[in-house]
Amino acid sequence: MAETVVQPSRSRDLDKLLLRPGNIIGANFDPGLELREDLAKYAKVLVVGAGGLGCELLKDLALSGFHNLEVIDMDRIEVTNLNRQFLFRFEDVGKPKAEVAAKRVMERVSGVNIKPHFCRIEDKDIDFYSDFSIIVLGLDSIEARSYINSVACSFLEYGSDDKPREETVKPLVDGGTEGFKGHARVIVPGLTPCFECTIWLFPPQVKFPLCTLAETPRTAAHCIEYAHLIKWDEVHSGKAFDPDEPEHMKWVYNEAVKRAELFGIPGVTYSLTQGVVKNIIPAIASTNAVISAACALETLKITSGCSKTLSNYLTYNGAEGLHTKVTEFVRDKDCLVCGPGVLVELETSVTLQKFIDLLEKHPDLLLSKASVTHQGNNLYMQAPPVLEEMTRSNLSIPLFDLMGKTVRSTLHVTGTTSKNDKKTSALRKLRIVFKGVDGVTDMDMAGAA
């Protein structure tokens, strides 16, 4: 027997997961050396964010057997990062986080290749994101999560049976921390709720009434927001406040102190000023470590199939004792971002006017007075009059031409539907397929005929 020596991987525990069969496993789990090698060779993981969570994620993923990692972050290292963003040293202050983080992990973990991207997530085109097997998020804002979610969901295609096509599914693993609390969730577009399905989970931001700030401040935060939102504009007419400019922050702090003295309010400090203005909650290193570990493990589970994945939202609270819980959220079936949308098949000759008329009779829609938008291009607006006028000329043009002659595409319509004699306004996603165009011999289209 030609015996090849089984090279133990760096991590014995990883081998236990990848080389042995099990009972609670994912679909198509095929344990063995090939799996271990394939994970290293073929899985491409993008880490979004190289801050508190990002540093942990890069380290955890590198040690979990992934060899092809990339990281994207637009920030530079600040002194205040150093207590928890452990890949950075004092002499790194001012350098791009993504570049330093990538370098440090590659120095420590042999075999791993990490490509850094020092830029905004919006700067990369959609092809960049489509290259990855899985995207892991270590972010601190709703905006950025919502953006990556919409990118990942834009790859998703549905077959004629309204089932997602597996090869178009781009999984996301999202981590987030705030002080002693954190969450880790798995988003498999088309199968589990996407970020927009559960946007209501986020509490509304605390905003103080402007008149309270101007007239009756009661707390240190009121004084700071007064300086930030009202006094700044009064003094610096036209110049925008930049929270990343230390001079600006100093100015706001000094004004807040004056205001607090005037009203006899204690507690205005420079760090509270930063906290209120930038909405910062103190970050805790151990929370990042716990959440990152959960995210890295889910990433390994999704890619290898070595275990069933988290379904689908884990919360962690270490504030008093320790509490963790997993909640299975459900999809919003009409989600505008990850939902299948209503399939509408059309001839290429159908004009926009004809299309709008068709929507009124479509049994699944019954949508009257529709306004139509296609990927940021407003094709027709019923109101206000100024926009109606600007878009009216489109009505006589074939929809196929207005949509850039793409055979299959998504568009969104708003209008009024009648249900049980009650009129409600609706915003719907449609999946448009043009019939009889050369080159479309797609299997599931043939099935739909």
Binding site: N28, D38, K41, Y42, A43, K44, I126, D127, S130, S133, I134, I142, E143, S146, Y147, S150, S154, F155, E167, P171, E196, I199, P204, Q205, K207, F208, P209, L210, C211, A214, E215, L229, I230, D233, E234, I302, T303, S304, G305, L336, V337, S371, T373, Q375, G376, N378, M381, Q382, A383, P384, V386, L387, M390, T391, T406, T410, H412, T414, S425, L427
Partner: protein
């Protein structure tokens, strides 16, 4: 899913650019919701809306209000709206571009309207906000002052307030402050 990734990666290695179409970025959920709000606008005659970046940028627009009753009758007031991609999770940012003598609008154009800050809810929409702004001109409110002096005058001497408003709108001084003509 590794098998799938493997297949995909091998395809790429073979440079099999089979279906060369690349998906295009979708509109943000906020943009879509805004599209709905805008297409359902139902404004009073005294309010008009304009889109200075053309029909495809709905996130930045201006609203002109010409009150047809009350202290501010005959004036023209311009508001800028800036809507975030996570709308309606976050309220639109509204500023008054016309310098106005008003208890609830300061001289920098900050507007004290509860639904723009502390009372904003995702069920509200652009129409509600515009009606809210319109309401500020028909019913200025001395209890939530942003312009302290104007609020005090309104509270203590409605006649003087009325004449101050007329003077300001005609392009005159109220106290030390010069207002541009907006009639």
């Amino acid at each position: 899913m590794i098998k799938l990734f493997k297949v995909k990666e091998k395809q790429r290695e073979l440079a099999e650019n089979a279906n060369g179409k690349t998906p295009i970025k979708k509109q943000s959920a906020g943009e879509l919701r805004l599209h709905k709000d805008i297409s359902e606008l139902n404004l009073p005659k005294s309010c008009t809306i304009s889109f200075h970046n053309g029909k495809d940028d709905l996130m930045n627009f201006e609203v002109t209000i010409r009150p047809d009753e009350g202290y501010y009758q005959g004036g023209t007031f311009l508001f800028s709206f800036n809507v975030s991609p996570i709308y309606p999770h976050e309220a639109p940012k509204v500023k008054c571009k016309t310098k106005v003598y008003h208890p609830n609008i300061d001289l920098e154009g900050n507007v004290c309207l509860n639904i723009l800050r502390e009372d904003w809810k995702p069920v509200l929409n652009i129409n509600t906000v515009i009606y809210g702004l319109f309401h500020l001109f028909t019913e200025p409110n001395s209890e939530d002052p942003l312009n302290h002096d104007a609020a005090a005058v309104l509270r203590d001497n409605a006649k003087l307030f009325q004449s101050n408003v007329r003077r300001a709108m005609a392009g005159g001084y109220v106290g030390q402050t010069l207002f541009p003509r907006c009639l």
